[in-house]
């Protein structure tokens, strides 16, 4: 047997080995980008909500003379949430940034709930023609934010499963594929969505 012919099986095994590594690597890259994309979707939907809030505040302002504090709080909470989101966007595996974002989200959520409570006590405002479609829009957007987070969590789960499976588990860490944290709410109150009443 010549040297070259004895090398053929060795080369074949190496080839299969590297092809396997490449495909797993590509799988990880795809997973990570899917996670990023899923997060971008949350971002898009939250942005949608951020855009709707000023409209709501403006519409309410005309009717609520004595509730400026409530409205200012919402506006401030919105700013905070937007800033926290910007930080988290840069590094999805940063769990501290995620916690900050979730806290800001919660504040915004509470602020919105307060506004809704106030809206309830202004019959004129409740009957306002511009408010009704706005509230409908907010309700659907709230759903979309929820669905976007769910899609993000599903993508995160898929990525983490790939990452922790053999053989990816051997080299995923050293190649910079960090585990991603799913979106979860620690505080019970934040689990409730902003209720939008159509009555």
């Amino acid at each position: 047997m010549t040297w070259s012919s004895s090398m053929i099986p060795v080369i074949a095994v190496l080839l299969v080995f590297f092809l396997g590594i490449f495909s797993v690597y590509n799988l990880l890259v795809r997973g990570r980008n899917q996670v990023k994309n899923a997060f971008a979707q949350i971002d898009v939907q939250m942005q949608r909500r951020f855009d709707l809030i000023p409209n709501l505040v403006e519409t309410c302002k005309a009717y609520m003379q004595h509730e400026h504090d409530t409205l200012t709080q919402v506006a401030a909470a919105r700013q905070q949430a937007m800033a926290a989101q910007d930080v988290f966007k840069k590094d999805l595996s940063n769990s501290q940034a995620m916690n900050t974002l979730m806290q800001a989200e919660q504040k915004l959520h509470q602020g919105m709930a307060n506004v809704m409570a106030v809206v309830e006590s202004y019959p004129d405002l409740k009957a306002d023609q511009t408010l009704q479609p706005l509230l409908e829009e907010l309700a659907s957007t709230e759903n979309r934010v929820g669905f976007a987070r769910q899609a993000y969590n599903d993508a995160v789960m898929e990525f983490n499963v790939t990452r922790e499976s053999f053989p990816a588990v051997i080299f995923a860490g050293s190649l910079g594929f960090a585990a991603v944290q799913p979106w979860s709410l620690e505080n019970q109150e934040a689990r409730q969505s902003v209720h939008v009443s159509f009555h």
Binding site: Q34, N37, A38, Q41, Q45, H109, A113, N114, M116, A117, E120, S121, E136, S140, N143, R144, F147, A148, Q150, A151, D154, A155, Q192, S193, V194, H195, S197, F198, H199
Partner: protein, 539 residues
């Protein structure tokens, strides 16, 4: 079984079917060669190697037929929609249900991380169905029947859209197209065999076989083609059925609401009339729909039976559904009311209701509310007109005793309008709330309506007169005196809770959740809750 597992299983099964299909095609082609090899010595003038010729011809023919079919089938989703007379939803001037459909689709596109297809409504279809068509993202359309918009609640509509979006995500339209094209190729093989056989035969008054070799090869190819087409159709149907299971499971993954999917499937199972298409070309696209109305034997049908689909989602769902129906006779009435296409049928439904719920006027009352709402919706009139229509049609109901007549008339006052108008929205919340309580498995739409009405009162309407009137109506069963105070109302509510077999704790929880769900509590709501808590000695 979780939907993740179910998805994995459906994917695995579909893959096996697809592999079988590929093997079938390979076997048919091998068979053609075998036939030729066996019969070649009997071919006339066999100097040239016919094997290449025949393989080339078969391959070229299959490709040609496939390409021509592809070009024919490739007509885009919009083309399909136009052919079926669908109307595209625009951004403006939408009816509330259409708005809801558009929002639900947008939500599902977020949940499934896909772009939003063009949404069409099939105005002439009164059944409950939906389908997706088109191969490229730009060209993908989603069509929903008007009947689905009319009869389904938001949750069921969302379940249905989840299913359709899953077909989009898994590229089922493309898979289907490939299978159909391959099938048409096999069919072409059958035709080739026929042509070969015809060449080998001359007819001059009598039939002469000119070349037994060619005739044999022709017949062989013909039989192979025919067998291939039949087996191929069987395998295609198998693949399609597994993809339906997959779409159900993925729909549940995206909506995370298995109950809505099950209730949608159960309604379709119990009402075959909702599965019927009006359009004449229904047969051509039945494999693309949410539910098909095929009467074929199972091995050729593109959709699994609805029973199997429900079972795959939850093996116990059917048992639960049946026991629910046994426990409360009226369970079939609300679906019946859903199915009523015009106000004329309403007296019939109400009559059925009155005989079946003779001892439950409260439920009858709730049903009247539903009847009025639906009458109004179906007739396209205002709610007040719907109620008047219902009132006049109820005059024709016979077999009611005096007490029931009184109760019916009590149900009709104009003050009730507002209450009933809120019922459907509220009922959704209550259903949602109660689905979380294990002991509330016996929950029925009727109970939801009654409790919803009650919750509505506690949570929103604090006008004492209005409240008292309705509670007096509800309180008849509870045996309350004519003059009703707040305390009495609460007692009525308590009795009501017993009437519908809820524990105090369960009702209290539901009540608190329904108020808490809003994330806000007005002072009145707080006060009402507090009063109830004291009354029920829960705090």
């Amino acid at each position: 079984m979780s939907f993740w597992l179910q998805q994995a299983r459906a994917r695995q099964h579909a893959l096996i079917w697809i592999l079988l299909f590929v093997i079938l095609v390979v076997l048919v082609l091998l068979g053609v060669n075998l036939v030729y090899w066996g019969l070649a010595p009997w071919l006339p003038g066999s100097r040239i190697n016919h094997l290449y010729v025949i393989n080339f011809t078969v391959a070229a023919m299959m490709v040609l037929v496939a390409v021509s079919n592809y070009l024919g089938l490739k007509q885009g989703g919009h083309g399909w929609a136009r052919q079926l007379g669908a109307r595209q939803l625009t951004d403006y001037g939408l009816k509330p249900q259409e708005q809801c459909l558009r929002d639900v689709c947008a939500e599902m596109s977020v949940a499934s991380m896909q772009s939003l297809p063009s949404v069409y409504v099939l105005d002439h279809e009164s059944g409950i169905n939906a389908m997706v068509a088109g191969l490229t993202p730009d060209d993908t359309v989603l069509m929903v029947t008007a009947g689905a918009l009319q009869h389904l609640g938001r949750d069921e509509l969302q379940a249905m859209m989840g299913h359709e979006f899953s077909h989009l995500a898994d590229g089922d339209a493309l898979l289907n197209l490939r299978l159909v094209i391959t099938l048409s190729g096999l069919h072409a093989l059958y035709r080739l065999g026929q042509v070969c056989s015809e060449w080998a035969v001359a007819v001059e008054g009598k039939v002469f076989i000119l070349s037994w070799g060619l005739f044999g090869i022709g017949q062989g190819i013909r039989i192979l083609g025919l067998g291939g087409v039949f087996l191929g159709r069987w395998l295609c149907a198998g693949i399609s059925r597994e993809r339906e299971f997959l779409a159900d499971a993925t729909g549940v993954q995206w909506t995370r609401h298995k109950e809505a999917m099950i209730s949608l499937l159960m309604v379709l199972r119990e009402h075959p009339e909702y599965r019927v298409w009006q359009h004449g070309r229904a047969e051509e696209f039945s494999h693309m729909c949410f539910v098909s109305n095929e009467n074929w034997r199972r091995w050729l049908s593109s959709h699994p039976p609805l029973k199997e689909r429900v079972k795959a989602l939850d093996p116990l769902a059917l048992v639960r559904w049946r026991s629910k129906q046994r426990q409360i006779k009226t369970a079939s009435l609300v679906p019946a009311a859903h199915g009523v296409n015009d106000a004329l049928a309403m007296p019939f439904v109400l009559h059925q209701a009155s005989t079946q719920v003779a001892l439950q006027p409260v439920l009858l009352l709730g049903l009247c509310g539903v009847g009025a709402t639906y009458t109004a919706e179906l007739q396209g009139v205002s709610f007040a007109q719907g109620l008047a229509l219902l009132e006049s049609s109820m005059a024709g109901i016979t077999g009611l005793d005096t007490l029931q007549q009184q109760q019916l008339s009590l149900a009709m006052p104009a003050n009730l309008l507002q209450w009933v108008a809120h019922l459907r929205l509220r009922a959704r919340y209550v259903t949602y709330v109660c689905s979380g309580h294990a002991e509330l498995n016996d929950f029925t739409p009727q109970v939801a309506i009654v409790v919803a009405g009650w919750l509505q009162l506690v949570c929103k309407d604090t006008d004492p007169e209005h409240f008292a009137l309705i509670m007096r109506t509800l309180g008849i069963k509870a045996g309350l005196p004519g003059k009703v105070s707040w305390k009495d109302c609460e007692q009525a509510a308590l009795n009501l809770s017993m009437l519908v077999h809820w524990s105090r704790q369960a009702l209290w929880d539901a009540c608190q959740d329904a108020v808490g769900l809003a994330g806000i509590r007005t002072h009145e709501e707080e006060a009402a809750l507090h009063a109830l808590a004291e009354l029920w000695q829960l705090t």
